[in-house]
């Protein structure tokens, strides 16, 4: 699955996107964040407050805990500051 990172999350991970073959226990968007937080120290720091992130599957924002199902892209979105 392709994973996209934005803004300060992208900078903290030093990565704008990557392809990850998630293990079968990663079922929902929340599981993805938990997986990344547990992966390494950068992930643990970046996802210290997991609830602040919105997630999008195939460029559609979805509620926390949505199953990944057949989605090809997950985007992890820090709090937005446009306008």
């Amino acid at each position: 699955m392709k994973v996209l990172y934005f803004a300060w999350l992208r900078e903290r991970l030093n990565l704008s996107e990557e392809d990850i073959a998630f293990p079968p226990e990663v079922v929902t968007t929340g599981d993805v964040i938990a997986f990344l937080a547990a992966r390494d120290e950068a992930g643990a720091l970046a996802f210290e407050r997991p609830a602040i992130f919105k997630t999008a599957l195939d460029a559609r924002i979805v509620p926390h805990g949505t199953p990944l199902a057949d989605a090809k892209i997950i985007a992890l979105l820090p709090p937005m500051t446009g306008g």
Binding site: L4, F6, A56, R60, I61, P79, M80, G82, G83
Partner: protein, 149 residues
């Protein structure tokens, strides 16, 4: 409805004139333009907006559609830039057209209040001392919440 997300600068006056030309018989038009802020006691050198364009278009379209339905707007335009900008440059422009002024004001304001928290843009300020990401404000969440009552 016209929704645009682009790195290219836009001309707010020309956009406003084009919007009015299309709908001048409607009765009331409101234009909001957001500009890069740099205040004397908090000066910035530049503002860089990061964006997820595909999602931004989808979110802005959903927000604008909701405003059109809720306030029976005759037309709406939302233009949002991303990339690097200098103080005074336009970032965003929202124009709402309606038969009466209150609906046009409300429609434009609701779009701006939602856009601040729900459209995937992120601001980074460059100042004399370095760069930093602008923090999301709880006031922006409150501004949005009043439309949800």
């Amino acid at each position: 409805m016209d929704i645009r997300v682009s790195e290219t600068p836009f001309d707010p006056g020309a956009e406003s004139n084009a919007f009015l030309d299309r709908g001048k018989a409607a009765g009331a038009a409101v234009t909001f333009t957001g500009l890069v802020r740099s205040l004397p006691d908090d000066p910035i050198i530049a503002l860089t907006l990061e964006c997820y364009p595909e999602l931004a278009i989808r979110q802005l379209t959903a927000i604008a559609t909701e405003a059109v339905t809720r306030f029976s707007l005759a037309d709406i335009t939302v233009i949002h830039r991303y990339g690097r900008m200098l103080p005074g440059e336009p970032i965003v422009q929202v124009m709402a057209l309606s038969a009466h002024r209150q609906a046009a004001f409300d429609g434009a304001q609701m779009v701006m209040d939602y856009l601040k928290t729900d459209a995937p843009f992120w601001k980074k300020e460059t100042t004399a001392t370095g760069e930093h990401w602008v923090e999301a404000k709880s006031a922006d969440d409150s501004a949005k919440a009043r439309w949800e009552a």
